[in-house]
Symmetry: C2
Subunit: 475 residues, 2 copies
């Protein structure tokens, strides 16, 4: 999915023409970050980095794009020539895909000229906002299921073709075991899953016949949908008969439930299967699940082996967008990078100036305890006492002698428009996300009312910020 | 955006192989419909028909799709050969894009063989569910703004690339005046809009300089963002100065507000502009708007000319999916189409059997009063008394002598896999949607707690349903 450079808000182009006309195209640094964890949660899982790299590599204007822009009668020939030759040649630093991230700390840092940096804004935010939203949602669902097997079934409810494909990729990163989306399986090399709909059962003269025919065809992957007619009086009985025949051939039955009271029915089904010698048989459930429902079912001890989740996984449900933003942090002047910041009446919307790095401080057990944002050239060292500050409220600070690892999170991924890092495979990204989530204190991963993870700034960054605010107020 | 035939849930393929193997590929009829209006509203605007036609026309398996399916080790050579030659050759009937539709009444009817009809399920639902959701959301925003000018600004918050492009198309259908998404403007031929971000203002040494330079460059499209520093003490004053210079050249100023209290500031800005001889100047606002906020601002008499709406418009906000479904309605047996239905414990989930048409009954003033679902061969005539029934509750019925127009809603759009209708342009679709919404009694378009529009069934359909339910219970 590389939409090219016309996938940008028109105002980026009107501004770019201005910068081009007035010869205002300095080197700049932009930060991408978000201001709150989605879903009322305590963490966020970064996703979308590799797709962003792919899209940036083909971020150019085709000849008919230029024709279209000319037809708008807003752009002069010189600027259109500039766009014809345009390609993104900036540097990009990013946290590794699958890394757990927190509000306020940059996930991506872009070094480029002003026009380049602005033109990619929409593409960057579109890609990273959405995939990060879905990876985070899936991680919540995965945790709610007690790290169970999540099947992503969202194709038909996703927001467009790419809404489905991107969501599938991000859901896998967040912990999904497989997807129903066959094209996504091919494109991303992730497991696909799917057996039958109610229409299969209805296509045969009897439920029993439908089940038998399916088991004949797919003896190694027989998951029978038991709720087409009557789950307990018909579906599970027919399924168990087929399951016993499979067992004689050394094969295992699976059943799926897609309606009714999952709590009651999953227990009843388990009991029936166990009483009929099918202790190995698995139970899958689906039907408008989300993390709250799954959490309640797990808390009730429901014997569920697979969770099929659709709408809520691929759209985020009630929280349909990560509100990530992309803000100017530094601008070259007289050959030097000068910090810039947006000063807002609302202190939470005031940005952190300068070229910055995010340092994650771990305890000796390897669990993250705080992220500290400082200037890129600053170092934070294990064994050395330091004081870190709340990004907006000066009197909130803490002093610490870090005794565990300290890891910088932003790493170079693109240099002069070319990928310069070995990007991990999607399986490695999923593994990383699982490790990252496991390393967090459970108070941060609690579904509701989680503990707030500390994101602080260094003393120097605090001082520069204070100076700039004072200068702005006085000036 | 034509993803090809691999954009399907895997279970469609496992089932299809079964139908192929067991030579069960009869002619069937499927209905697509939804069970509730999104956003708690009283109506829904159909969208996505033309994109669906495009995608169906290229719904084939490429050679590497077949290679991928072979690699899954689930499909035999005969079936893979069948898929290699597969193309969708069915007939499709649909309501016109932009038509107002209601829960329970089919929007799309597909006649095809069973395998064809099943394989397209995911693509059909993905396309129509999402675009219909967004067209409906935009229609609500449009109505809330008192039929004002809505600018769709959602690219950066949309769910993936196509999430943005499809949303832009659907938002235009629902009443948006323009989009910020340049690629969507090119692709769909709809107006694009955009001027400046805060970063433009910050790139210059002063706000005044930034405004002047912009007005020099775009004298015919000068919309100045006035809230970068201080809206009332700086932004509006500098904008008004530039506005007066523009006025001397016969040009009109626009200002945009993207933060702060819109109610208070829009009044204050209007007063300032009027007092400074800029009565023609327009005011645009943005910042996490939705229909409720817009409705409140309009009710307060806020002097706002343009509404920029992003996240909520392109994702649906808290209601992120239309839960449209696609159900088997009839199946050929011994050369005849036999009605089929899904009978559920929940009467609302019981489907209407048979090959059906939806008749919209209008009053003499041209306002729709009810949709009646009947068998395709049934007619409903103006001037003839008829009794229509609630789809699930027999004792709720009404008797009427229709005295206005009666219009069948489902029209042929595809015959044997080829488009067979003159599909309207996107501008015509938008016009139709506006006319349709205007024709509705305002009790149906109320944002909150709307009147419920009547969707009923004919006596014959009611009787066939009752017979089939009785047969199922007895059998």
């Amino acid at each position: 999915m590389s939409p090219g450079a016309l996938f940008t808000d028109l105002y980026e182009l009107t501004m770019a023409q201005g910068y081009h006309r007035y010869q205002m195209n300095p080197r700049v640094v932009f930060d991408m970050f978000f201001r709150r964890n989605p879903f009322g949660g305590g963490f966020t899982v970064c996703a979308g980095i590799e797709p962003l790299m792919d899209a940036l590599a083909s971020f150019t204007f085709a000849a008919d794009d230029i024709d279209y822009l000319r037809s708008l009668d807003m752009f002069d020939a010189g600027f259109l020539d500039y766009l014809s030759a345009f390609r993104f040649a900036g540097d990009v630093y990013a946290v590794g895909e699958g890394t757990v991230v927190f509000p306020g700390a940059p996930m991506i840092r872009v070094h480029a000229n002003l026009i380049e940096a602005q033109l990619i804004e929409g593409l960057l935010l579109n890609t990273v906002n959405f995939q990060t939203l879905i990876a985070t949602k899936t991680a919540r669902v995965f945790l709610a299921s007690n790290r169970g097997r999540i099947l992503e079934f969202g194709l038909r409810r996703a927001q467009g073709i790419d809404g489905a494909l991107s969501a599938t990729r991000a859901a896998f990163i967040g912990g999904a075991a497989a997807t129903s989306n066959t094209l996504a399986g091919k494109r991303f090399g992730i497991p696909v899953s799917g057996t039958m709909a109610h229409s299969w059962v209805m296509a045969f003269d009897s439920e029993r016949d439908a089940f038998e025919k399916y088991a004949d065809l797919y003896p190694d992957k027989t998951i029978l949908l038991v709720d087409t007619y009557d789950t307990l009086r018909s579906g599970i009985k027919n399924a168990a008969e087929v399951g016993r025949a499979l067992a004689e051939r050394g094969k295992t039955l699976g059943v799926r439930l897609d309606s009714g009271d999952i709590q009651y029915l999953s227990h009843a089904i388990r009991r029936y299967l166990d009483e009929h010698g099918l202790r190995d048989a698995t139970i899958a459930v689906s039907n408008e699940l989300n993390e709250e429902i799954i959490h309640a079912l797990v808390a009730d001890g429901c014997p569920i082996d697979f969770w099929g989740v659709g709408t809520n996984l691929v759209t985020g449900g009630s929280d349909s967008a990560l509100t990530g933003v992309y803000k100017l942090a530094a601008k070259e002047r007289d050959g030097k990078m000068v910090p810039t910041m947006k000063i807002s009446d609302n202190p939470d919307k005031t940005t952190d100036p300068g070229v910055k790095q995010v340092h994650r401080i771990y305890d000796r057990g390897g669990s993250p305890i705080a992220d500290v944002i400082g200037f890129d050239e600053e170092t934070i060292e294990t064994g050395t006492r330091a004081t870190f500050y709340h990004p907006a409220i000066d009197y909130r600070h803490f002093s610490i002698v870090p005794d565990g690892e300290i890891r910088p999170l932003l790493e170079p991924v693109m240099k002069s428009g070319r990928v310069c890092a070995d990007l991990p495979s999607i399986h490695q990204i999923q593994e990383r996300a699982k490790r990252e989530i496991d390393s967090l204190d459970p108070t941060y991963t609690r579904l509701i009312n989680p503990h707030r993870y500390k994101v602080s700034i260094t003393e120097r960054l605090k001082d520069v910020k204070a100076e700039m605010i004072a200068g702005f107020i006085d000036g």
